[in-house]
Amino acid sequence: MPLLEAQHLYKVFGRRPGDIVRRLEQGEDAGELRKRYDVTPAVIDASFEVNEGEIFVVMGLSGSGKSTLIRMLNGLHQPTSGHVKILGEDISTMSAAQLRQARRDHISMVFQHFALFPHRTVAENAAYGLQVKGVSEAERREKALEALKLVGLDGWGDHKPGELSGGMQQRVGLARALAADTDILLMDEAFSALDPLIRRDMQDQLIELQNQLGKTIVFITHDLNEAMRLGDRIAMMRDGRIVQVGTAEEILTDPANDYVAQFVADVDRTRVLTARSIMEPPVATLGMGHGPLAAHKLMREHQQPGLYVVGRDRGLQGYVMEEDIVAARGGGETIADLVKPIETTVPADAPAAELFTPAASVRLPLPVVDPDGKLVGVIPRVTLLAALGAVDPTDPADPVGTPDNSTVELDKTTGGAR
């Protein structure tokens, strides 16, 4: 069961919103309705699920409805139509008291402009959620100080928020949400008001905290790079609609429409694309038991200057070059005698930016391995360049190293871990 679920959410501001929703459902154009009836369809038919422990980013420009959307998730805005389910429970059917209880137990929020209470100390701010829950003063102070420590504000508890810098204030906002100890954290443009260096710091810290605590986070942003850095999955929003939901790589490599494609055009692809999304299955691999003749034949068939050698479990053992086979021909040797040790591999989750140096240092396509050292794919240099330029790598003009579809008789289970 997903932790948080949005089903066909609509939010229309203005007169007779129910009618407008009906018209939208019948396919009438939102812009037309906006003009004709002077209403604002802020969110139109938004559906998604947020799974436990993931960072779900909603990305859109200002006016795309993302702030309205996030406020429907904890009931600050009542949806005009549709349902929000927190741990499977529909919040639109809850009474005011039940909804308050759900907020106390399950879903807390971090605000764009921090929304710290200036008349309370930092520790009292961090303890706010617990105070509302009715936790005793001593206990909530202890937990608040713990949360402050977690965000790196040890020793600031007795200051007033006004004495802190913007970045520190937002840490307090984060601590307040963490101290409330809810399953879900809503973050509404939480880092947008911070300057770029601090924003970067906060993003890193959030990722670290998330790894540590395993919170489920819904993060709203208008900054695509932030979305790509943080998001396990990203929902792209435009004019109230969610136009695509997917991982950063899916959105980058397979944009749902021109809008998304244009949007992601400026993204630094080397930071988002990973080895996994670029790699290809190895055209062929060798086993230790193969004879030099068979190996030579394979290399010629696939026009490769050499091939990787793997064990039965596909663990990468080394590589063999064609010239060595030619030199040793007829010497009665097996592959095991000719194999050279691997010097360079890359992990599957390495960002593309880190692939250039290793790719330049190997003569064969760059081997990609999983944490157990198994060969999961290879990246020919041309493919790497093509992926970053978003050019189709199977272009016929492509001179080397792309796989043909001939069956590889030695190892049928060529590993494409896409």
Binding site: R71, Q101, A102
Partner: protein, 301 residues
């Protein structure tokens, strides 16, 4: 004189209503009058029976606490002047009336202001009523108040309340409305009840504005001193009036200056309380926080 539009006898109707009220609700109004009179008399009794020197010291300390040493000196000099004019007893009578009128006005104004801030419809009704209360010449409602309450302090206090409530309501409403929407959302998002949001977030954050309202209520109450004199309330207002009747410029000036001194004193003190960073109390507050921080630092070390 004949009118173009058919004559509306509003005046007669209101007079009828007032008559009806005096006939049927006299018990209620007598009760109100007696409560207010008791309050004023009680405070007057305390003020008149405390040695003047002690009172001056107390006033000066109050100013020091709320505002700082300059205000304290000003208060001491001011009240000494009042005494030198021979107006100290009158000033204390006036002060007693103002305290009662202001406290009652504030007790009414703040809840009404909160209601107006939270409910658009209530606000739409309350606003024109406030305009009425502020602009209707005091003499117009003085007469009905006299009929219902009678001569003396109580009538004066009630007329003063009517006149001085509006800024209290307005500034309370404004203050609460001006609280940043994100702050209120923060309260709601953590599951606070509307009452918790109001008491824990909206009212504390609206406090400077509410205190400015309190200050304005007191100032307006003071401006009613002479009107209070007309209704027969003892004090500085009556001194001013009698100087008018006997054409005694000297007494008029002395009583008038005493009103001004009282006004400045009350303004500075209440204004001081509306600000965080002035007066002895904020110094003590700062000192205390510094100590707490030092203690926390040694704890950590």
């Amino acid at each position: 004189m004949s009118t173009v539009v058919p004559r509306i006898h509003l005046g007669e109707w209101i007079a009828d209503v007032v008559n009806w009220l005096t006939d049927h609700w006299s018990g209620f109004f007598d009760g109100v009058a007696s409560i207010v009179n008791h309050l004023v008399d009680g405070i007057q009794h305390v003020l008149m029976n405390t040695p003047i020197v002690l009172l001056i010291v107390i006033f000066a300390l109050l100013a020091l606490w709320a505002r700082g040493w300059k205000a304290a000196v000003l208060a001491a000099v001011g009240f000494c002047l009042i005494d030198a004019f021979g107006e100290f007893p009158s000033a204390m009578q006036t002060l007693a009336q103002i305290i009662v009128a202001s406290v009652l006005a504030i007790v009414i104004a703040i809840p009404v202001g909160i209601l107006a801030a939270r409910n658009r419809r209530a606000s739409a009704v309350i606003k024109p009523v406030l305009d009425f209360m502020q602009t209707l010449p005091a003499y117009v409602y003085l007469l009905p108040v006299l009929f219902l309450i009678g001569l003396g302090s109580a009538g004066a206090v009630l007329a003063t309340i009517i006149f001085s409530i509006p800024p209290g309501v307005r500034l309370t409403e404004l203050g609460i409305r001006q609280v940043d929407g994100e702050m209120v959302e923060a309260g709601q998002a953590f599951g606070a009840t509307p009452k918790e949001v109001l008491r824990g977030i909206q009212i504390p954050l609206a406090m400077p504005s509410i205190m400015a309202g309190v200050n304005q209520v007191i100032m307006l109450a003071l401006s009613m001193v002479v009107v209070a004199g007309i209704v027969g309330a003892p004090g500085l207002g009556q001194d001013v009036l009698s100087s008018l009747q006997s054409l005694d410029v000297g007494v008029g000036v002395e009583a008038g200056l005493s009103v001004v001194i009282l006004a400045i004193f009350l303004d500075r003190v209440t204004d001081g309380f509306s600000k965080r960073e002035v007066g002895l109390r904020s110094e003590i507050d700062k000192l205390r926080r510094r100590q707490a921080r030092a203690a926390a630092a040694t704890d950590a070390a």
